[in-house]
């Protein structure tokens, strides 16, 4: 199964915390791009990860050439056309930057958007930047839209301060662009709040089409009422996955297992087999990216993307 996201990276502050170094990554078959990337470091405001750090919010970069992007030649030869950098902050301090790259296949439908506060319309969000693959019409509609707080994927995430996963988006009453999404073949959406201060919201929205889903499975884990364990609130994949459901019944204890470590440290994590060609006949879930959602220094949720 092809996924919309081709490459995933985690960049972490070095010992002095003055520049970003390679943490881990999922590159699939793109081993040359991996080799070019893992030796790099990025200073504050340098390259895509450094820029996201300096700006303090997610960035979508759709034009690599003649930009601050540092890996233009390598990305071009790997067929990557768009980069998304998501800084993970705990208060003022950067924990890590997660970077996604999308490709240039003809049939890669889907969208990744960053919404921020619309200064002209109170309590509304607007698309700050976004990548829409081949969905040009959907892009036009989206960029003209005002999203009120509490409505639509992004508005709901802003109101609740929590990630929101909507399955069967074409039928969802809460989604504002239902008809346009249906036309564009978008079936699933997830929005993730990436901010420290609710008055300056940044919402990341992933819209997933059936042919090229964002990931093979997406999960939202949240702390229980007592704050003693993480519980899987929602899990979604295109195909029913009973095995994943079994593992989603397991509560997570702080510090134990991959998700427990994300909770303990506030750091995103990549787990699983990083080598290309691992169990290809199974076409199954063998890699995971887990991103913490932190507000005012507290973990509110973990979103995991399984590939």
């Amino acid at each position: 199964m092809k996924t919309f996201i081709k490459v995933t990276e985690i960049w972490i502050p070095d010992k002095e915390r003055t520049q970003l170094e390679f943490g881990s990554g999922l590159y699939g078959e793109l081993i040359d791009f991996k080799a070019d990337s893992e030796q790099l470091t990025f200073a504050y405001n340098e390259g895509l990860p450094g820029k996201a750090w300096a700006e303090g919010h997610p960035i979508v970069l759709t034009e690599f050439e003649h930009s601050y992007f540092k890996r233009t030649i390598a990305a071009k030869s790997a067929g990557l056309t768009c980069g998304i950098a998501i800084p993970i902050f705990s208060g003022d301090f950067l924990m890590a930057v997660v970077v996604f790259f999308c490709g240039d296949d003809e049939d890669h439908a889907g969208a990744i958007e960053v919404w921020d506060k619309n200064v002209n319309v109170e309590n509304n969000l607007k698309v700050m930047n976004g990548y829409y693959g081949t969905l040009q019409h959907f892009e036009t509609i989206s960029r003209q839209l005002n999203m009120p707080k509490g409505q639509g994927l992004a508005g709901l995430a802003w109101e609740s301060g929590m990630p929101v996963l909507v399955e069967d988006i074409g039928q969802a009453t809460t989604f504002i662009r239902t008809q346009d999404a249906q036309l564009a073949g978008i079936t699933v959406g997830i929005s993730i709040p990436v901010y420290n201060n609710p008055n300056e919201p940044y919402i990341l929205a992933f819209l997933s089409a059936k042919a090229t889903p964002i990931a093979k499975r997406i999960q939202i884990w949240i702390p229980n009422k007592e704050g003693t364990q993480l519980i899987c609130q929602q899990g979604y994949s295109k195909h029913n996955n009973d095995l994943a459901k079994i593992f989603e019944t397991l509560p997570v204890t702080k510090g134990i297992g991959a998700l427990g470590r994300v909770w303990l440290t506030g750091m995103p994590i990549i787990t699983g087999n990083h080598e290309p060609g691992y169990n290809p006949e199974l076409d199954n879930l063998s890699k995971m990216l887990a991103i913490p959602v932190i507000e005012q220094g507290r973990l509110k949720a973990i979103v995991s993307f399984l590939f």
Partner: protein, 191 residues
């Protein structure tokens, strides 16, 4: 009458004794000296049998034969004057079916070929049986490992773990071993 394709590798292109004999027996025979294009040639013409008639087989040739045994196993007969123990060991490692040190005895040629082909078939059957046994053992190992994961994480009994695993495998139309690998891979993600 035999109509098998034979690739004959000989040092001397001017001596056609063996080639003539093979044709007389009824084989279709292509004769060529050994060189670095040997593997490509074998893949291109896909012979039923390879016969070498060489004074001293080189290390490069044995390396090629080892590669060939992994990619396209074929019955191989080698006539040579080299009786060093090192050459014999290399021939065995390269899955040569018959190694005859000394002159080619033409009246025995047909029976040498028949024995070599029979030995090759027997070796292949043993290889397949060994691979199947190894795969079964591996399946059993991963199935036990996957059951242990389900027992530990889901508080299943061994029976429940086995039945869950089997149902998951049946739903996906894959083998128990493949399903067990899935469980292990999934468990690794959350480790």
């Amino acid at each position: 009458m035999n109509r098998l394709n034979v690739l004959l590798i000989e040092d001397d292109p001017n001596i056609t004794l063996l080639e003539d004999e093979l044709k007389e027996i009824g084989f279709i025979c292509l004769k060529t000296p050994y060189d670095s294009t040997f593997l490509t040639l074998v893949k291109d013409i896909a012979p039923n049998l390879i016969i070498f008639n060489l004074e001293i087989p080189s290390n490069a040739l044995f390396a090629d034969l080892q590669t060939l045994s992994h990619q396209l196993a074929l019955p191989i007969i080698m006539f040579t004057r080299d009786n060093h123990i090192g050459t014999i060991n290399q021939a065995i490692k390269a899955d040569v079916c018959a190694l005859i040190v000394g002159d080619v005895e033409h009246k025995r040629l047909n029976s040498i070929i028949n024995v070599a082909i029979a030995r090759f078939k027997h070796q292949q059957a043993l290889k397949t049986a060994l691979e199947e046994a190894c795969a079964k053992l591996e399946d059993r190992k991963v199935t036990d490992q996957a059951k242990a994961i389900l027992i530990k994480t889901q508080n299943f009994t061994e029976d429940e773990a086995y039945h869950t695993l089997r149902k998951l495998a049946m739903d996906r139309k894959i083998t128990l071993g493949e399903m067990a690998k899935n469980v292990i891979a999934m468990s690794d993600l959350f480790k």
